[in-house]
Subunit: 269 residues, 2 copies
């Protein structure tokens, strides 16, 4: 018998939805895999898990348990709590990032042990200067996610917004130090998702839309992975040289279901 | 007869002053070299030439002609005017940068042909996102200066502030493009200073305090150069591997005068 996954890791933006637009077949895919425990993993630290669960429900998808949502913000907060219980932090990013971090640590712009930079509004000359000061005084620079840019839909128009990798760059350049990075393709987000599932990498599949983060990162921790070309990486685009190819490379979630049913990866129910 | 310079290029911060503190021997050095035409060159685009001349005078130095002050902001404005007369720009930086650019071009956040990023306050999530948009629509990314960080004295305390290289980094990461850089060690600021003097590189000396920008850049365009260790690079620090050594490496301007008098580079008056 071939491979049968016991759990799924699912990226969301570009896989299940685009901004506020549900992608075709997302509901069907979630229903057809409902018997498999799953974790929704995202490099986007802007929303809290509850907000993500609300967003999925608002799009018409089955309501998810917020505990099954692992954002890079949550993973960062958990990692910092493990590294230093009761940690003090200075965050540069969206409100959601501040709130998620504050569940495990204390915001302290004077004596922070960690400068956490994440996606969303928050960076300006003052926060940058303050962060540089703290890092020079010994704080560790942490980046929620390394994406250079992110796609967004703002007022009905496609926008390219700065990603976590862009927002942390000025801190890195000014201090000459590299940030500790939590999100995909770094291993930590995947490892924490597997912990939540209680499964090994060999037992699970990661479904994502980005070769550089989803697929490269999943392959690095030994996960099988499926690429759907409904997000950043479009049908017809040639595979980036040097990146490991995915186990499945399909136009969309419907094609993935058909392939999995055909090959016995998934039993048709 | 040995080398006798016909003109000088002088960095200011770390050479003549530190923030609002005049450095010893600066006045003496300017007096002893008063017969040589000179250009004050600085990577700092925050002040306008008039403001720089005022600052030098306020420190007790001889009043300089603002036309002899070449900031990276002025050099950027002149370069853009040559590239595209009447250029439209979107600037991210201090007020002084906006004003200097507006002397040659027109600020236009909707249809800018150049996104100019310079030192000082100005960067935030909105300006970054707007700049990314403009660059994606064809605007050229320009950086006034590449310094990763700059030393400053704020409220009597030494601070390390983000430099032009740090502030342009998020634009570069988000777009995947490299900025055109005007300031030291790139050649343009030096070349424009030599144009102002009407002299060749072989006839002039650059005096600066930073191996990575002042000395490396001066050597690249064929200038002789003198390093004073009164700024970022302190006495006892070992020369960075791979950087060309300066022609003179002295603790301060007094030592430079003594060396130049002794070796006949400068006639004692």
């Amino acid at each position: 018998m071939g491979f049968r996954p016991r759990g799924l890791l699912l990226d969301m933006d570009g896989v299940l939805y685009h901004g506020s637009r549900l992608l075709p077949h997302a509901r069907r895919f979630l229903e057809a895999t409902a018997h498999l425990p799953r974790v929704f993993v995202t490099n986007n630290p802007i929303r809290t898990p509850v907000e993500v669960a609300d967003h999925l429900a608002a799009l018409g998808l089955p309501r998810s348990d917020p505990a099954d949502v692992l954002t890079s913000g949550v993973a960062t907060a958990r990692w910092l709590a493990r590294e230093r219980p009761g940690f003090r932090f200075f965050a540069v990013g969206a409100d959601g990032l501040h709130r998620v971090l504050a569940e495990h640590g204390t915001e302290d712009a004077e004596n922070a042990e960690f400068v956490v930079v994440g996606e969303g509004p928050g960076l300006d000359y003052d926060t940058l200067s303050r962060g540089i000061d703290l890092i020079r005084n010994g704080a560790t620079l942490v980046s929620t996610n390394p994406d250079p840019s992110v796609d967004a839909v703002v007022a009905g128009r496609h926008r390219v917004l700065p990603g976590g990798g862009a927002l942390v760059a000025p801190f890195e350049v000014a201090t000459g130090l590299r940030a500790t990075t939590i999100g995909k393709p770094e291993p930590l987000l995947f490892v924490m998702a597997l912990e939540r599932l209680g499964l090994s990498a060999a037992e699970c599949v990661m479904v994502g839309d980005r070769p550089d983060t989803d697929i490269a990162g999943a392959a690095r921790v030994g996960l099988r992975c499926a690429l759907v070309r409904t997000g950043r990486f479009l049908p017809g685009a040639s595979w980036p040289a040097g990146e490991p190819p995915p186990d499945w490379d399909v136009p969309d979630l419907r094609s993935l279901l058909l392939r999995w049913w055909r090959d016995g990866v998934l039993e048709q129910r």
